[in-house]
Amino acid sequence: MAVLSTREKLAILSDAAKYDASCASSGAGGRDSLKSGGIGSTEGMGICHSYAPDGRCISLLKILLTNFCIYDCSYCINRSSSNVRRARFTVDEVVRLTMDFYKRNYIEGLFLSSGVIRSPDETMTEMVEVVRRLRLDEKFGGYIHLKTIPEASAELVEKAGLYADRLSINVELPTDEGVKRLAPEKRPETIRVSMAKLRSKIEEKAEPTLRTKTRERFAPGGQSTQMIVGADATPDAGILKTSARLYGSYQLRRVYYSAFSPIPDASSALPLRKPPLMREHRLYQADWLMRFYGFDQSEILDGQPDGMLDLEIDPKLAWALRNRASFPLDVNRADKEMLLRIPGFGTRAVERIIETRRFKRLRLEDVGRLCQSIAKVRPFIVADGWSPGATTDAARLRETIAPKPRQLELL
């Protein structure tokens, strides 16, 4: 094989990494280089340094160490049967690229993943070596997200957590049956146990040690996971159920949903069509409802016989339209949990309403100044001088507030 330049490898190994949705660089807490005199900081909120024309933020240098892989997962561009060009970075190349990009303020840090070569432990050893060198040799204080290989040994995971801000293990697909069918060599049981171990480790290290009373550093950004949407037939209800289970069981910071995207040299086992981007978007909205709006997973799709989220309207509006008996709500009196259920109110709007109404009774125009769009909110609220009358129950309500059908951008 011809020797590839670092730039050629970068092209291959970032192309190979782009199907992973996660790019978050948040949650690591505060860290800077003032004491170490090194390079890098994290400040809670991550920063998106650029945006690709697919609308996704570019925050981290997201690459694979190698795209050689012994697994043959049919949804993956790097599966062993794929004819994609293969490349392999040296540890040194990844360290240099990360530092070169970071020093020019292109990125927040590194998201390193890898195909599995030879054995999980060998691959993981090399990944850990990259982060060790960044932290110790380069005094790098930027964000590091390491995709953990589920089968890797406990010692390697422990080391990874010492240097990385976030660790993640992909559940790959919403159901174990799906994994068995599309990723026959992967073991869902092992993936679950690995996530469980990671949670236990994170909790263990969050306790101050007896001797020094300080906390040992271990993945301060927690763990996350990703599942591919649309590669198997699991309906949204099943996906959300899996998410609720994952959040509850393993204290995940995030579950990422990745609309299955056609890949070059695709496997015949998969649907060849454009990625279900709107479905992915609705799943994220539903995920937000579970995490920040007090919705239970079972409520979100309650009464939706096919178990699929409505693509035309957001899941909160869909829920409100199915539960009109709960509305209208008086914005001057309703409690926080109920305000959060009003379509068109975000968490920030609800906070502002609660704060403002302590000093002043809210009229409709006041509410209009506190939220994005009063038109969407109006049928569901009562304010001083405003009552929606029969609109809340009008049969045509959906038509009047749903966004006009719009041709989605062609693939």
Partner: protein
């Protein structure tokens, strides 16, 4: 922005030292407000000669919240020439309405918030979109960036770059001023022009390669990109010149991905499969001859649907020849994570009481009636739910196998689920606890409570009493074993 002293109808014209002279504003505002000067009687200007302001009225104190001062300092960086007048008006109004800032629907407050947000956003975008270019090598290595912010945010944004690029010698040049960090000190300097910054960097080709490769043409969403990366920032970003080409080619690239027929597997695929994934030999389901073999079989159990939510099967634990067996209800959160029975809070009580009674946990066998954790997810927690009769029934098969292999002298049923599983009959634990019941097959089953019952008691005194009763039961167990 710079104004000449003009004929003014206002009683006072304040001249601030610079566009972000917040201290100057604060000083003038204090003097004016304590002298009851109304907002409409003041004009605020940047630069020029100062006019005489009244001395602060002695003895008159004027207080506003720290929150207002902090946020006003941010708003002072806005490019809107009305900003200082707005800040004074808000200050003035807070005298009679101390909670004004919390009334988010007030037009002045909204404008204040909008300006604050705009400055913060500009600062954030500066953190994001500054692009350093390297000049020199070794000790002469410098990183220089040219950036054009909307507002006067250089001073506000600079500390971020100090914290992040502490070990670098860098400078950021803007049309309003410049900032330079030499690894020790931050120095603010005069305005600069684009020509003062280097026009290229060797790493930009790499960065552009990355930008082009990380883009997925099947997900084209140009509007989403533009709303986060507005065009006004584009002229100083080395990667954006690629965007038109990527967008134009996206449709074609995506269509090609879909249209291309699946190909034959790569040549090395077969070798990899043979080396790493040899076809597993079919193992006939044989009857397990040891607890370990049984545990292995149970790890794949699909006798009821509980496996699909749980992490793993939590099988019994203890020596193959244990004479004493404890059976609980089902694993909990910690047991599910660790794959071992009785390691959570209830396990801690269990261990303590066992220790007190002089029973070595390592010498006994501990298991559960149901071997998967049944729960309801509630946000970041899992709430235990009681296994139903069908689930207990399905799992009894494993418990029976365990007991057949172990042939214990005594089995202790911890709680009603264990008792019902072992006796296959309704049991009233509160009435029957402390009793030993002989099964038809000769197995002796001792009944007591589940230690989690103690955890659920709120009153500490009552919990202590219950714990003592539980310990009493376990002592009886030890005595029975010794007899």
């Amino acid at each position: 922005m710079v104004s000449q002293p003009t004929l003014s109808l206002a009683a006072y014209a304040v001249q601030l030292a610079g566009p972000t002279d917040f201290d100057g504003w604060r000083d003038a505002a204090r003097k004016l407000a304590t002298n009851e000067v109304r907002p409409e009687d003041i004009e605020w200007h940047v630069g020029g000669a100062a006019t005489e302001l009244p001395a602060p009225t002695p003895g008159v104190e004027f207080r506003v919240s720290r929150d207002f001062i902090d946020r006003a300092a941010i708003v002072a960086c806005h490019s809107d020439s009305e900003r200082f007048a707005l800040l004074y008006r808000l200050l003035w109004r807070q005298r009679s309405a101390p909670h004004l800032l919390r009334i988010a629907s007030d037009p002045d407050v909204r404008r204040f918030e909008a300006m604050e947000k705009s400055v913060r956003r500009d600062e954030h975008k500066m953190h994001a979109f500054v692009r350093f270019r390297k000049i020199g090598d070794g000790v002469d290595e410098r990183f220089v960036a040219w950036f054009e912010p909307d507002h006067f945010i250089l001073e506000l944004a600079a500390p971020f770059f100090v914290r992040r690029f502490t070990g670098m010698h860098w400078a950021i040049l803007t049309p309003h001023g410049s900032a330079e960090w030499d690894r020790e000190r931050l120095a603010l300097g005069p305005a600069a022009s684009k020509e003062d910054a280097p026009d290229s960097d060797q790493s930009e080709e790499m960065w552009r390669t990355y930008f082009a490769s990380i883009f997925n043409p099947a997900r084209l969403k140009v509007k989403a990109m533009q709303s986060e990366m507005p065009k006004k920032y584009w002229r100083n970003l080395p990667e954006v010149s690629l965007i038109p080409g990527l967008v134009a080619g996206a449709d074609q690239a995506a269509r090609e991905m879909i249209a291309r027929m699946p190909t034959m597997p790569a040549p090395h695929h077969e070798a990899i499969q043979a080396r790493h994934w040899p076809a597993a030999e079919e193992q006939a389901a044989t009857e397990a001859q040891s607890i370990d073999a049984l545990r292995q079989q149970a790890s794949q159990c699909r006798r009821c649907p509980l496996w699909s939510e749980a992490t793993q099967t939590v099988f019994g634990e203890g020596p193959d020849d244990a004479e004493l067996v404890f059976v609980g209800e089902q694993p909990g959160d910690q047991e599910d994570l660790q794959g071992r029975p009785f390691v959570g809070p209830a396990g801690k009580i269990f261990d303590a009481v066992l220790g007190e009674a002089g029973i070595d946990r390592a010498a006994v066998y501990v298991t559960n009636a149901v071997k998967h954790f049944k729960f309801e997810p509630r946000g970041k927690r899992r709430i235990h739910s009681k296994p139903n009769a069908g689930e207990v029934q399905a799992c009894r098969w494993w418990l029976a196998q365990e007991l057949t292999l172990l042939k214990p002298k005594l089995v202790v049923a911890l709680g009603v689920t264990a008792a019902q599983s072992l006796l296959e009959a309704p049991v009233a634990i509160t009435r029957q606890r402390g009793q030993t019941i002989m099964r038809d097959d000769g197995l002796a089953v001792f009944l007591t409570i589940h230690p989690s019952y103690i955890l659920r008691i709120r009153d500490p005194q009552e919990a202590a009493t219950e714990c003592a009763r539980f310990a009493e039961d376990i002592r009886t167990v030890r005595e029975t074993m010794a007899a």
